[in-house]
Assembly symmetry: D3
Homo-oligomer: 318 residues x 6
């Protein structure tokens, strides 16, 4: 079976793919006909596809996020590879293929990622801080198993959020060792909490964000997480006015650094400064790594990357 | 007794004033002497003053925010009026003067302002919204009796915050009548709640802010108020996920309009757009009115006003 | 007859509509055919439509801003409702329909709006200010009966400009009552004059701006209105150097507040500050109201609104 | 007699100078004494000076913009040269010195500069354009003989404005020759008119701007000049709507290029683009030349120059 | 033979053109067919064209930057003129047409432009400066014969870069005469060197830039030229630390004036300030002239010009 | 002997200190007297001091960067601690104190820092990259032993630059291990080279920058380092056009990330993105650590830190 990132123009092929997006469109002209404008994907990438002469039955059969078996042809259209589907059917149990094999995922198993997050949380020495972090993790534990970290910006895949947190925890552990004046409890807590409300801010399925939720739009994940800390403190009887609670609030509220990036306050504790830079380093380097991974080896340049001053990345040949 | 804004250069005068600021300084030279660098004020304005040849006893006697009787002379120094104090003593009970007569205040009695705020709160039709607003007002009711709305920006005087809220409620009532598509409950609630955490953000006495509090610096009044809404909902058993709670959160979080002005989200409900403009209109026009009031009638131009594009205001003669 | 904002996908319908835009296009392919790409509207909204297989006669018959009778079908194309026209003819006298019934209009009769503007102008106490305002209103009185206030930004419909002025006059009257230190004559004059040269800046028909005029592009409505004040003063023998004339000039020149928004000077009189905020409040809230009105009730969110930080507005359900 | 830019620390000297600024100040301490804080200048530069132990008679005798004879000593104070005046008297007729010898001036005689401006104006081929330019020049001809072009920014000296215009006319003539597609009449007119209202915008004496006028603050020189064009057209019966008038208006209104630099519209004719760049080239290069001229030869770097990205200029040694 | 800028809608025509761009596309529909989406140009302008029903042979025959003979029809498509090609063949030797007749060129012969540049270089009095400039010119002399100055911004045609340099040299000569304090050697050297690395930064053929080179993207022409100066000094044994070398480096590094425009340092010598303004004046006025030249005489407005605040230019009628 | 950061108001003390700055000033008044305005420092911090009644001999004796023995008194002046010096003499050999004991230094011995840098350089696998890095390190090896990394921004102390590089190398090593797709040679080279020209850009002594050098002002350390790479390649016969050289150039040129921060190009290789974030993390966290270290333990807040959005840092109490 041909992986999507291995198709080349001219290929006739058969294989299983995930129908990621499907729109019924009509051809132009006096007697317009329906066709499907489709995005197919597998774990290696995605391509747009056309399925012409759609029947009424087809329109009741095929929906996004379903697995299909495709017979098609790859060709270049407007400088991009595109698929013309000649035959398509839904996958049945006998085909023996699983949805999760067709989506992009973090390179570590979700269960291991969440396990690491819970382990680090459990290692927080201060009991009250640990309690608050645990409370917030519990609210989203299920969704941590699969949520991406963003719609497109970075870690935009299955369990991307948990992967982002775990990698930041690695950087955090190194930085705390290099600079012992940093409070390791606050660094751990800040990393786990900083994006903890993203599963509330975004609606996602199979690692793909379809839209922002109502509370995501009207409050944003930073204010949501800040309110969760308050909620945790009230529910667990921790003094709302204590410096611990204030320190956690500040970490979450300031982690985007600037007002125009969504932070109502700027970092004013050592750990808040560190958290912002740990977050930036992991997010930006992951953007680079993901862009290089999903760009065919034959291309020297990745596409433009919005989060990197809208520049593409060049694959150095050394 | 001469009011401060009526003193002119050359005046010898005697009177009661509030010692707003006092710093012990030393004259330059080989044998430096102590003197007091003072700011005197009364309800009409403030002036800087010098008290030379300070004794050790003086240094134990005079402290800021105390009333004093002064004999002095007004003269111009570096283009500004300044007072040279020849005699000074603390006010005693027999003098029969009250601290509150010497500070700038809102033009309406605090008790009436707070009464109006509570009355409007009670008139909110929706029971849950009313409950949350009441909970938050209760947290600061005492401080509403005297807190200013800002350190220097606008309404920076005794009960300035309550006055700001009441004037906004007047504009809000007018706008709701002019544009019935606005929800009057949300407008009322938004106005009362938008700056409700300012007394937590700032440390103030007699209408004068001395500094920002720790939580004020690390969270800011917008996030504090957002958390109070969550606290109110939890304590009063109101559904945290309801649109009502979300609507109130959004009003508070978005009322500064832009990220660089401190709002993590931008207005996305009709009432949030209205709230921002009601706030702006009241704050800016009050800056103008206060600047004109505290500028001597003989001056055509007020000082530069930071909140008004750093422009002074010209007193039109029509 | 079905109003445009009530059509749903699948509807077959017949009705009268205004042909707002019409472009002759050609289908792709070796033997291209002409078709009409059309925008139809009525007072409730607008939709794009296609008319296939256009004859030469059709091309001589149908032109924008003409009324037509349509038989058509509504269907969804690229997630938007679109109309396929099967039959179309021009409206005749017998149809008994009037152009003005098919365009979006201010909710108050133009004649009443202009009457209010003239009445308020007449109520200006100062004779010279009144003379200048009257002179400028006279220049555009006819066009005030139908001009919109902007191309798309706000009040973009029949008599939208007059409606904007009248609503601002209502707010102005309230603010002058609330804050008596404002000069009511200047507030009235500033409101009437601030956008008075918009009919010169833009070319509009039936409340729809087709383009900016040459003087609109090379001078802009602010400088045009400033020059009209000079012209009025010269023609009516009013001292060009007087503070009155200067005060009016300043109101007009500064009402956009910032240089990057087109104002060469920033507000430096109390009334100029007030005028800017009255203008902003009316324009922004009208954007919200118009966006909600023209968004189908079934949609929770309006489209993105450029003048509101490019955010959509959410229809709160309370 | 020692020129100011030739004084070095330690010099005892006697000479005639212009008293440019004088402020009566008081020494600190218990028995403060009056002294004069003075700025002395001659055509070569300026220095601050102190005159101690001022008598009442002195205070009635000495005022800014008067010539004085000084006996004094130059010394370094806070890294800057300063003068301690030991004796000072007013200049009398017998001294035979003239005010104009003591001020910085354009390097060309004002009468010649104004003559050139009038000559170029007379050479404008189009009669209506010539009439309008002449009308505006006539309004300020007297002041063109001495006004500076700005308060501090560039050409801030006697007849600096006329010098700026004349030098721009030289550049304009070259550019019109190099690029014949430019309309020479418009270039000439645009150069003469672009800053023509500066004498109305600023209050100046002897080439020194003391402040902005009321109309300067409330309208700015750009809008003032735009209104003068309208006035000229009305008074001289030229069609206000003609492209000629519009072209002149556009040149004046757009010559600062950007809204944040004070232009309500951006250049949209070839001549307007040219005018902006001719203005920029002359102003910036004159800033450089003046800064180098007024910096002692012993200094490699000029002071920071606000109009040049706040950078100092290095005197290359080649 | 009809020039491209003289074609009007409805014309049937035959002629020779340059095939500037060619893309094989497919029609929509169930049985898509190949067609060519083409850009044709001659020295007068360019137009897009369609060639339907493309054969396999056609796909092997026609490539961009080849001359073709066309039989076609001009018609309006989406408000723009477009060509439908009915017949097309490659040009043969017998046709007697030359590639260079079909491309836009500077209005002066390249050989003359390069001659002028070399002559001015030879006239630099300082031997070391002359040596460095000569070294750098030698590196690109061949490419100066045809390179454009930019991709689209300005002077985007055959020998545009050399033309830009020569015109700047004319302005530079004038400015040095008008302001003798400028060092003419540095002005000449700065003008010749400022864009000297553009042929390294961009890949161009026949005056058309197809893309930026790798070193163009990773270093930019400013840093490339700065390194060439170092290279020249090393190879020609000139002291790298001398003020001369530093002065040249500074001219090149600062000529874009601001960091956000690509200059790592801001102009800090008189000649660097002059160079920036000479560059700006030539580039901006050439944009205007080129836009007017390539806009049909019947159009009053040019298209929007990105380098001119994204404004179009109006063709004044005087 | 009392360390500077342990002095409290009222202390009479004697001790050795470094005279960091000294200015001769004069008291105000009719008979001004000379005094020294001094900055004293030791390794723990610095304070301003006054030495009254300065003799001519004193003025020939005391100069900055000399060690002195002081007898003095600490007192509070304008809310800051200040020293009044009663006796002062130069240090003699017998005092047995060394200059280097009195200056702030990196917490690691310079010789060890430089050793580490050379060791890491030697570990670069690619021979050409290693050669270039070695060449550049050799140019500044002496100065690496003592140069600070900046004037005030970060690592502004003895050997601060080498310390900055070494700490970045630690982070770099970690990141390369965490993300093997990064080229370790380029990361090492980029870290060593990124600020390698700072000793050329700034003039420093004892870890204190007094000013920027001429080449520092006219080229900046980024362009200087870029030119050194070219120089190294030429001198060591390495192909200037190779991707290796280009890769190193890009690392240096882009490491400030944005044009307004001084980088003429933005990061476009994986290693360039990494380098920017490694640099930012080390610089910002060191600013925090240094600010906390030099703020007395009794203070909860550090001073405002320009590089951290001009915010102070709060010392969390957990």
């Amino acid at each position: 079976m041909t992986l999507i990132n291995q198709l080349v123009s001219g290929d006739d092929f058969t294989g299983f793919y995930l129908l990621r997006e499907l729109e019924v469109k009509q051809t132009n002209g006096a007697t317009p006909k329906d066709y499907f404008d489709i995005v197919l994907c597998d774990a290696s990438g995605q391509l747009s596809a056309k399925y012409w002469d759609v029947s009424s039955a087809d329109k009741e059969t095929f929906f996004p996020m379903g697995l299909v078996k495709i017979q098609g042809n790859a060709h270049t259209y407007r400088e991009k590879l595109q698929i013309k589907i000649s035959r398509m059917r839904k996958v049945t149990e006998e085909d023996g293929v699983a949805l999760t094999d067709f989506i992009r995922s973090a390179p570590v198993r979700p269960v291991d990622l969440v396990h690491t997050i819970k382990q680090v949380t459990a290692s927080i020495a201060d009991q009250e801080i640990r309690t608050i972090v645990t409370y917030c993790v519990d609210k989203v534990e299920d969704r941590l198993m699969h949520y991406p970290a963003a719609k497109t910006h970075h870690h935009a895949y299955f369990a991307g959020l948990a992967y982002h947190i775990v990698r930041m925890l690695e950087i955090g552990a190194f930085i705390c060792k290099q600079r012992p004046f940093l409070n390791a409890d606050l660094i751990k807590a800040g990393i786990v909490l900083h994006d903890i409300a993203k599963p509330e801010e975004m609606v996602a399925q199979l690692g793909i964000v379809s839209e922002y939720s109502l509370s995501g739009k009207l409050m944003g994940h930073i204010s949501l997480a800040s309110n969760w800390i308050t909620e945790a403190a009230i529910r667990c009887d921790i003094d709302l006015e204590s410096e611990k609670v204030l320190g956690l609030q500040h970490l979450v509220l300031s982690h985007h650094n600037l007002g125009e990036w969504g932070s109502p306050v700027q970092p004013q504790t050592a750990e808040a400064v560190a958290l912002h830079h740990i977050d930036a380093m992991d997010a930006k380097l992951q953007m680079v790594e993901d862009a290089l991974d999903t760009t065919p080896d034959t291309e020297q340049w990745t596409p433009f990357i919005r989060g990197l001053e809208n520049k593409p990345i060049y694959r150095m040949k050394l």
